[in-house]
C-alpha cells in the first residue's frame, strides 16, 4: 500500500552535487525528518506519515471528468456571496491616506480638522498604534520575508504608502477627512533603479533599527539589500571554455499588477463573544489570522477569519493588506467596518510582480550540448521585502532544471527601491527568469545553426532525470532532491507544433510591410513547496449519505472546491455532488497553508484522499455490521455498499442512519493532513504566431497555442480554463500591460490606461492537456494554475525576432519599442555587423 512506500520510488537519478555557498539559508528543521524517516517507532506511530505515493485506481469514476463546478450556478446567478455582499448595521467605512511622496519622513501630522468633519469617527496615525515589525507576505511561519513593514510608520517609502487610517460613517466622509489631515513631510532622496539602490551612498530605505528577517538568511538593509541567494553546480568557467558559442544578454521583465476584478476587500466585526471576525478576500486565511494577531498584538484565539467567494487573486491576495487595518478600527471603535481598495489603490499600494534585471549567460557546442548556464538576477521588491527571497530563489528553481547541463550558476539579489511593492504573482519568479532563458535558447539555436525546437528537444529534462538545482534552491532553506516522475513535455512540443502548423509556416515571413513570425518556448513550474506546505481536511457523513467537507484550502475561483469534491467522491465511492464543500473559515475548517505555490490540487488533494479513506473504512465497518458481512467482502459503488457476491446491499444513507441512530452509534467522519515530499513540475510548450507591421512596429498576435502536462487533470475543463486564463494574462502582460512612473508615482492606475486584454484583443487561442501520471500526486495530478502565465513573454518575443530579426529585452513589446529596435538593427547593419555573441569561439 502507498502509505508504507518510502522514498526510493521518488528518487531515481543521482544528481550532481550542488554547492550553495556563503549566504545559504540554514535549515531550521527541528522536528522529525520527513523525507527519510529513521525516527523512533513511538514517534512514528504518534505522528501520521504523509504518503510519498498514492494508489492508482484502474479506472476513474469522478476524477478525470469535467464535472460541474460546485459553486457555478450560484456564481452565474449572482447568488454566491463575496466579501462585500453582506450588509452589516452600523458599518464604518475605512479609507487609508496614501503618501504623495516616494520617500519621506513625517515631520508632523495633525488630524484635528479632519476629526471635526461630520461623520468622522476615528483617525489613526503611527502615534496611535503598536509598532511591530512584520511582513505582509502570507507565507508559512516563520516567514522567509523580512519583517520590515508596520501597521503605520513615521516614514513613507513609496507613493501610496500608508500615512493614516480614517474611519467614518460614509466612504465620502472618510475620503473628505483624508484631504483635511495636515501632514508635513521631510522629503528624502528616493531611489528607483535597483542597481543604483545597491550602490554605496544610495538612500537607505529601511534605516529603522527594528527591521529584521526572522530566519537565518542574508539581510543587509543598510545597503537596501533584502535578500541574496547563490548556488553553483560544477564549474561554469570550465563549461564556457568548452563551448563553441557563448552568449550573454540582459532582460528586463517589467512591473505588472494581478488585476483581480474584485479588488482587495475586508469587513470586520466583533461577534457575540467579543471576538474579532474578519471576512476577507484572501488566499491565506490562516496566515492572515496569524499575521493580524501579530500586528495588533492580540492572541490568535481572539480572531476568526472567514474567506467567502473570492473574485480572483493570482497572488495579490497572498498578502495581508487590509486585515490589520480593519481589525484595528473594529477593536478600537467596537463597530463593524469595511475597507475596499479602489482600482487605483489596487495598482499603486497593493502588490505587483517584481520587476527584474535577468542576465543569462549560456555556452553551447555546435552539436547542441549546453556546456554552462549562468543566471544573475536583480529583483526589485519596491519599498518592502514581501516574498523577496522566495520569488528570487524560484527564478532559479523553477527554470534552471529544465535543460540538462553540468555547469550551472545562480546568483540573485533582491533590492529595495522607492517603488510599489513586489509580491506573489502567478508564475512567481519563473515568469521573469524564463523570459531570459527561453529568449537566449532561441538566440543560441540561431548562433549554433540549429533549429530552436530541436535544440530544446535535445536538452530538456525527461522522466527519471533529476537536477541538482532542486536540492540547492529551496524556499528559505535547502530544497528537496527529486527525480522527475512524469514529463509530457515532448508531447506538448510535437502536438503544439502540429496545431500551429510549425513545419509549414516557420521561416515564411512573407514580403511587404507585414512580416510573420513563429516563436515557442518550454516551461516548467512546481507543485507545492515540498516538506514545508501542509493542508488538511475534515469530512463527516450526513443521514442522506452526503458529506460535509471542510477545507482550509481556499478556492479563489480556481475550482479547487470542485476538484477536492471529485477527489473525495472518487475515494469514497459516491458522486461529487454528494460532497458539500465549505472553504474556508479559521474557526470551522482545519489548517491549510492556503492557495499559493501551485499547491492546492497536489497538496490538499493528498489530504482529501487520506481523510476520505479513513471515512470509507468507517463506512465499510458499519455496512459490514449492518449486513452481517465480513469487512473484507464489502465493496462500494455509487454510494452503495455491497456484501459478498453483491447479494446484500446497503446505501450510504442507511449506513449513516445506522451509525447515528441504531447501533454502536458514532459520527462517521475523519480529519486528515498531508505534507508534500516532492514538488513535481508540470511542463508546457507554448507557441505564438505574430504579424509585425514593419512601418508602424505594431505586433499582432495571430495565434497562440499552449500544451500543458499537469499529470492527471482532475477536472479537465477546469484545468483547461486555468490554462486559457493564464495564457491570456501572460499575453496581455507581454504586449500591453505597463506601469508608467513619474518620480515614483504611477501615472496610469486605471483600467482605462493600463490595458488588460478583452475579447476583441484575443488571438486564436488553442490549449490542450497532455495526459501523464504523477505517482506522488493525488490520482496522478500535478499543478496547473501558474505555469501558463510564463509562456507569452518568451514565445511572443521569439516570434517577433523570427519575423523581423529584433530581440526585444524590455517588455511590453509595444509598437514603439519594436520600431525603435528595427531602426537600430538597420543602422547597425549599415555601420558594421556587430555580434553580441563571441561567435566561433573555440575551446
Amino acid at each position: 500500500m502507498a502509505n508504507t512506500t518510502k522514498k526510493e520510488t521518488v528518487k531515481k537519478a543521482a544528481p550532481k552535487k550542488a554547492t550553495t555557498t556563503a549566504k545559504k539559508p540554514a535549515v531550521k528543521k527541528t522536528g522529525a525528518p520527513k523525507a527519510a524517516p529513521k525516527t523512533k517507532a513511538a514517534v512514528e506511530s504518534a505522528i501520521p506519515e504523509s504518503p510519498l505515493v498514492f494508489e492508482r485506481p484502474e479506472k476513474f469514476e469522478q476524477v478525470k471528468h469535467s464535472l460541474e463546478k460546485v459553486d457555478a450556478l450560484g456564481l452565474v446567478c449572482g447568488t454566491q456571496k463575496y466579501v462585500g455582499d453582506i450588509d452589516l448595521p452600523n458599518l464604518l467605512h475605512v479609507k487609508v491616506l496614501g503618501s504623495p511622496h516616494a520617500h519621506a519622513r513625517i515631520k508632523s501630522i495633525n488630524t484635528n480638522d479632519a476629526l471635526k468633519l461630520p461623520g468622522v469617527v476615528a483617525i489613526y496615525t503611527y502615534k496611535d498604534v503598536p509598532r511591530v515589525p512584520r511582513t505582509t507576505a502570507g507565507q508559512g511561519w516563520p516567514e522567509p520575508s523580512p519583517y520590515d513593514t508596520y501597521l503605520l510608520d513615521s516614514k513613507v517609502r513609496f507613493v501610496g504608502d500608508r500615512v493614516a487610517i480614517v474611519a467614518a460613517e460614509t466612504i465620502e466622509q472618510a475620503e473628505e477627512a483624508c484631504k483635511k489631515i495636515k501632514v508635513e513631510y521631510e522629503v528624502l532622496e528616493a531611489v528607483f533603479d535597483p542597481e543604483k539602490a545597491m550602490e554605496k551612498g544610495a538612500p537607505v530605505i529601511h534605516d529603522e533599527k527594528d527591521a529584521y528577517v526572522p530566519i537565518p538568511i542574508f539581510y543587509d538593509k543598510s545597503r537596501n539589500h533584502a535578500s541574496h541567494v547563490e548556488t553553483k553546480v560544477g564549474d561554469v568557467e570550465k563549461g564556457y571554455k568548452q563551448a563553441d558559442v557563448v552568449l550573454e544578454k540582459k532582460f528586463y521583465p517589467h512591473y505588472a499588477q494581478h488585476c483581480p476584478i474584485e479588488p482587495h476587500i475586508c469587513i470586520a466585526w466583533l461577534d457575540e463573544n467579543d471576538r474579532l471576525v474578519l471576512r476577507t478576500s484572501t488566499q491565506v486565511p490562516f496566515h492572515a489570522r496569524r499575521i493580524t494577531a501579530q500586528t495588533l498584538q492580540i492572541p490568535i484565539k481572539k480572531i476568526r477569519v472567514i474567506k467567502p467567494r473570492v473574485g480572483g487573486a493570482f497572488g495579490a491576495k497572498q498578502e495581508v493588506l487590509l486585515e490589520d487595518i480593519c481589525g484595528l478600527v473594529t477593536l478600537r471603535t467596537r463597530r463593524p467596518c469595511k475597507l475596499a481598495l479602489t482600482r487605483s489603490e489596487e495598482f499603486m499600494s497593493s502588490r505587483t510582480r517584481h520587476p527584474m534585471v535577468v542576465k543569462i549567460k549560456m555556452g553551447a557546442k555546435k552539436d547542441g550540448t549546453i556546456t554552462a548556464l549562468s543566471m544573475r538576477i536583480i529583483s526589485n521588491t519596491g519599498a518592502y521585502g514581501s516574498h523577496a527571497l522566495t520569488v528570487l530563489s524560484n527564478c532559479g528553481s523553477k527554470v534552471l532544471p529544465l535543460y540538462r547541463t553540468d555547469n550551472i550558476e545562480f546568483v540573485g539579489d533582491t533590492v529595495y527601491t522607492n517603488l510599489p511593492v513586489g509580491g506573489a504573482y502567478r508564475g512567481y519568479g519563473a515568469t521573469q527568469a524564463c523570459f531570459g532563458t527561453e529568449s537566449l535558447m532561441d538566440d543560441m539555436a540561431e548562433a549554433i545553426g540549429m533549429d530552436p525546437i530541436k535544440f530544446r528537444q535535445m536538452n530538456h529534462i525527461v522522466e527519471g532525470e533529476s537536477s541538482p538545482i532542486f536540492k540547492a534552491l529551496g524556499e528559505g532553506r535547502e530544497g528537496v532532491d527529486m527525480a522527475i516522475g512524469s514529463c509530457g513535455l515532448a508531447e506538448c512540443i510535437t502536438k503544439g507544433m502540429k496545431i500551429i502548423d510549425w513545419q509549414k509556416k516557420y521561416g515564411k515571413k512573407g514580403t511587404g510591410t507585414k512580416r510573420r513570425g513563429l516563436g515557442m518556448c518550454c516551461l516548467m513550474q512546481g507543485s507545492s513547496i515540498p516538506e514545508i506546505d501542509m493542508g488538511s481536511v475534515f469530512i463527516k457523513m450526513n443521514e442522506d449519505g452526503s458529506f460535509n467537507m471542510l477545507l482550509g484550502a481556499t478556492d479563489l475561483g480556481t475550482g479547487s472546491d470542485t476538484v477536492m469534491a471529485q477527489i473525495a467522491a472518487e475515494t469514497l465511492g459516491c458522486k461529487h455532488t454528494d460532497m458539500i464543500v465549505y472553504s474556508s473559515d479559521t474557526d470551522m475548517t482545519p489548517f491549510d497553508v492556503g492557495a499559493y505555490a501551485s499547491s492546492t490540487t497536489y497538496l490538499t488533494g493528498g489530504a482529501v484522499i487520506t481523510t476520505a479513506k479513513k471515512v470509507r473504512d468507517q463506512i465499510i465497518s458499519v455496512a459490514a455490521l449492518k449486513m452481517g458481512e465480513k469487512i473484507e467482502d464489502i465493496t462500494i459503488a455509487d454510494g452503495i455498499c455491497y456484501g459478498k457476491g453483491k447479494k446484500n446491499k446497503v446505501s450510504f444513507s442507511d449506513v449513516s442512519k445506522y451509525s447515528l441512530y441504531e447501533n454502536k452509534q458514532f459520527q462517521i467522519g475523519a480529519i486528515g493532513s498531508h505534507i508534500s515530499h516532492a514538488s513535481p513540475p508540470p511542463f508546457a510548450a507554448h507557441f505564438a504566431e505574430v504579424e509585425v507591421d514593419t512601418e508602424t512596429g505594431e505586433v499582432k498576435l495571430l495565434s497562440y497555442v499552449a500544451g500543458v502536462d499537469c499529470g492527471t487533470a482532475i477536472n479537465p475543463q477546469l484545468a483547461d480554463g486555468q490554462t486559457q486564463g493564464a495564457c491570456m494574462n501572460g499575453i496581455s502582460f507581454a504586449l500591453t500591460e505597463e506601469y508608467i512612473f513619474d518620480n515614483g508615482k504611477m501615472l496610469n492606475s486605471t483600467f482605462g490606461n493600463y490595458k488588460i486584454w478583452g475579447t476583441k484583443d484575443m488571438p486564436n487561442l488553442q490549449t490542450f492537456l497532455v495526459d501523464t501520471y504523477e505517482n506522488t500526486g493525488p490520482y496522478g495530478a500535478k499543478s496547473v494554475s501558474e505555469i501558463s502565465i510564463n509562456g507569452a513573454l518568451p514565445a511572443i518575443g521569439n516570434a517577433i525576432k523570427n519575423a523581423v530579426g529584433v530581440r526585444l529585452t524590455q517588455p511590453p513589446f509595444t509598437a514603439e519599442k519594436v520600431l525603435k529596435a528595427m531602426k537600430e538593427l538597420k543602422s547597425a547593419k549599415v555601420e558594421a555587423p556587430k555580434a553580441t555573441a563571441k561567435k566561433g569561439k573555440k575551446k
Binding site: T79, C259, G312, Q722, T759, L765
Partner: protein
C-alpha cells in the same frame, strides 16, 4: 429624491441621494450581483440592462434612471431555474471566480435580444467591455454561441 424604477420586473419606490451611483443604489436595494471592479466604467462588472441596453452602473447617477426598467443577473434566473445563458456558462466551464459573470451575462443577454444568431465576432464585440482575468474568454464565447443555438431551437427553458 424619490426614484421610481422597475428592477427585474418589480416596481421599486426608493429614497436615494440624486448623486448616488446606480451601482450603490442597486446593491443597497439587495441586488448584490452588481459588482464593483473599477468605479470608472472600464471593467463591466457592474453592467445592468437599462431599458434594454447594457450600461455600466458605476458611472450612471441614480437620477438618470427615473422610471426606467432595470435588469440584473438576479432577474435572468436563479440556481433552480437558470436562464439558458447562465446554464450554458456553467456547462461550458465559463465561470471561475465568477465576479465578472453577472455583468458579462447582462451584456450577452442584450446581444441575443437584439441579435439571436450572433457570429463569434458579434459575441466578442458584445463582451469586450467585460473584463475577465480568470478565464481567457474562450469558454464564455463558446457558451454564448451555444446558448444562442439552444434558444433558436426553442428548447425548453426560461428565456
Amino acid at each position: 429624491m424619490k426614484l421610481n424604477v422597475k428592477i427585474n420586473g418589480k416596481k421599486f419606490d426608493l429614497e436615494v441621494n440624486p448623486n448616488a451611483m446606480l451601482i450603490d443604489v442597486l446593491r443597497d436595494a439587495g441586488f448584490k450581483s452588481v459588482k464593483n471592479g473599477c468605479s470608472e466604467g472600464s471593467c463591466g462588472a457592474c453592467a445592468v440592462m437599462i431599458d434594454g441596453r447594457p450600461k455600466n452602473s458605476c458611472i450612471i447617477l441614480a437620477g438618470q434612471v427615473q422610471n426606467s426598467e432595470i435588469l440584473t443577473a438576479e432577474g435572468l434566473g436563479n440556481p433552480e431555474t437558470p436562464h439558458i445563458l447562465q446554464r450554458s456558462f456553467v456547462d461550458h466551464g465559463s465561470t471561475q471566480c465568477g465576479y465578472c459573470n453577472p455583468g458579462s451575462l447582462i451584456s450577452v443577454k442584450a446581444l441575443l435580444d437584439k441579435n439571436p444568431k450572433p457570429t463569434e465576432a458579434d459575441v466578442k464585440d458584445a463582451l469586450d467591455g467585460n473584463l475577465c482575468r480568470c478565464t481567457g474568454y474562450v469558454k464564455r464565447i463558446e457558451a454564448v454561441l451555444d446558448a444562442a443555438k439552444i434558444i433558436q431551437k426553442g428548447t425548453k427553458g426560461k428565456k
